[in-house]
Amino acid sequence: MVTFLDPFATWIQTTQLAFVMRDNQWLWAFCETVHFLGLAMMVGAIGALDLRMLGVAKQIPMRPLHRLVPWGIAGFVANLTTGIMFYSADATQYTHNIAFQFKMLFVLLAGVNVLYFYGAKVSQRVEALGPGADAPMSAKVVAASSLFLWFGVMYWGRMLPFIGTAF
C-alpha cells in the first residue's frame, strides 16, 4: 500500500542511528519515557487551549493561555525526534503496519488542522478573546478536531503492537 516508502525504509534501517537503537535497550527505554512526557506536554498545552475554545475555563483570556503553545510544540518536537529514532530501528515493519499508517495519517490531519487555525486567521480572532468571551464556531470545530485527532494518534500509537504485523 505504501511501497513508495520502501527505499527510504530500507535506507534508514541501515543507518548508524538504527543500529544504535536496536543495540541499546536502555536508549530505547529512555526514548519511550521521553515520548510519553512529550505527549503529556502536548495534551497539557494544546489540550488546555482546545478546552478553553470549547468553553471550559472561559474566565482565562486566550492570549496568555496561548503562551503554553511553545510547550506543546516542544512536546511535539521531542516526540517527532524519538519517533524517528524508533522508526529507524524497524522501518519496514512500521511502514507496513496499518496502525502506524493511521497514526501518521492522524498526525498529518492534525497538522492540517493547525495550518487552518493559523492560516485562516482563526487564531487571530481567538487571540483577542477576553475573560468570559465565547470562541467563534470555526475555533470550536478546530478545537474539537484537535482533541479528536491527538487522542486518535495516541490510540493508534498504542495499537502498534496489537494491530497488523508489528513485533
Binding site: 535497550q25 536502555w26 527505554a29 519511550e32 519515557t33 510519553f36 512526557l37 505527549l39 503529556a40 506536554m41 502536548m42 495534551v43 497539557g44 498545552a45 489540550g47 488546555a48 478546552l51 471550559v56 475555563a57 472561559k58 474566565q59 482565562i60 483570556p61 492570549r63 496568555p64 493561555l65 503562551r67 503554553l68 510547550w71 475573560p131 487522542f151 495516541m154 490510540y155 500509537g157 498504542r158 495499537m159 503492537p161 496489537f162 494491530i163
Partner: protein
Amino acid sequence: MEFLTWVEQLPFSTWVRESGSLYGYSLILTLHTIGLALLMGISFAVDLRLIGFAGETPVAPYERFFPYLWLGFWLNAISGVILLMADATTKMINPVFYVKMTLIALAVWNVTIIRKRMFGNSFPANAKTLAWISIFLWIGATTAGRLMAYLGPVAGLQ
C-alpha cells in the same frame, strides 16, 4: 502469592491478558495512556503557569481544568488495577512497581496541595517550588512506569 495467582487466574484477568481482543489488553493500555495524558498534561499546564512560563494569566480559572485532571486520574486508577490484575504475580513482586506507586502518590498529594493553596485565599509564595516538585515527580513516575517493562520480573507485552 497464592492470592496473586488466584487474581491472575480469574476469568476476567485471563481474558484481558490472553484473549487478543482489541477490547482487552490493548484497549486498557490505550485508556491508561489517555489518562496519563490528561492527568499529567493538565498538571504540567498548571505547573508551567505557576512557574511563570504562561505569562500573567489569572490563576483562578485554571480550577475549571481540574475535573479533566481527575478524570485522567480515575481512568488510570481503574485501568491500572485491571492491568495489575492481569499480571498480578509479576507486577506485585517488582520493586519498580512500588517506586512508581510511591511517586504517583506523592505527585497526586502535591496536586491536591497546589489546588488547595492556589485557589485558597492567599497565593502561596512557594507555588513555584510546588510546581517544580510536581514536574519532577511526574517525570519520575513516567520513568518508573516505563522501566517496569525492562527491570525486575517483566510480564508480557507492555
